[in-house]
Symmetry: C2
Subunit: 247 residues, 2 copies
Amino acid sequence: MSGQLLIGVLGGMGPLATLDLQQKIIEETPAARDQEHVPVVAWNVPQIPDRQLALAGKGPSPLPALLAAVERLNRIGASHIVIACNTAHHWYDELAAASTAPLLHIVDACADELRAGAPDKVGIIATAGTLAAGWYQQRLAAQGITALLPAQAELERLFVPGCYAVKRGELQRGGELLDELANALLARGAQKLVLACTEVPPALVAVQSRSLPLALDPARALARQCVRLWQESQRRSNVDAALERRT
Amino acid sequence: MSGQLLIGVLGGMGPLATLDLQQKIIEETPAARDQEHVPVVAWNVPQIPDRQLALAGKGPSPLPALLAAVERLNRIGASHIVIACNTAHHWYDELAAASTAPLLHIVDACADELRAGAPDKVGIIATAGTLAAGWYQQRLAAQGITALLPAQAELERLFVPGCYAVKRGELQRGGELLDELANALLARGAQKLVLACTEVPPALVAVQSRSLPLALDPARALARQCVRLWQESQRRSNVDAALERRT
């Protein structure tokens, strides 16, 4: 197997988000039988200190647990590693530096898809912690894309109560609040939206938000990048096999 | 992490069944936050030769690929290994012999739950290949449970077309056929049913089969065994911590 593609999923944040990414990789793969699906190994070990608390300075850093997971995924032979959590990308640089296998970045996966529409401005719906850290904006800017952020008042009045409503299972109530936020960003000039928080996509679907055709789910963008890597590796294997037959 | 519980899922047969087992482990865990969920590493690499073809003598053995997966799961530090596929348990003995981490057996997980009701006879709904191999019956017998099998004519008229209907997405049609088979086994004296084929549970749910309260989904039984192991390991950690505080 060495030398072959194997997607390592650094997960556990939380365990359902790790399943969600695996599900999206399967959904995005054009496969007629089991053997055509992407090879994945998922590290779904949720004993990782809370990321939001750590960013708020109220809890221990998750970095040691994340580094241990990266070490394990390298040991099992992952050829590429993806992080099944937006917020954990805060520690991307340290994790990438410690890994032999390259770490894909969820924002780069988004940028790959956003560039196709050549938008001037992209609205970002994310936690205050993620937005304050700035890496979503910076990494999109490096790809020539300008981020448009919710105002502080919008985060407090729409985003936070919207997300907590979803966490309580009140998708309709959460969807109404988050739809208002999505429309506010579009009204201010966003041509696309990045839904960089896992509560947002199901809530917008629940209220059939008109923003959905303009919205990108980063987990799905990351899943599609995994599928593209798998398809490229399959093509290379086929070329190698064809060359071998000729010699 | 060494010495701690880590459930290794030997999956990829197919990729969705591997997600299904992970989903059931999460559903069966009483957890109030991420960190209380079962630590799992899932080897979801579907490049394994077809199990049904191999058992029918029409394709290569999946054993080398399964052995390689077991080796990887040991290497990453799995403390226990579960196989997310009924049919692949055909190669259980060889895999268990090659693994340092103990392999749980899906039939033992079923027997643990079936014994509670002390049934005389348990109906098994499974592929002809699984039934012909005999390990479901033998392993239940070792636990004092007698298996009642579908007749050949029932497999041909009800099971096979029922499963293929489900695979085509015709849950209602498949459910009618499989419900008839379930009722036939109950009429012949089965007090419980084991639904040892992943197509069966969703089809019986689709037709609201009256057999469902008597039916056991082996993947859910295996998931519950994983959760019990995790709870025991947590209790042991708590006792160790308490003893350490006293000394």
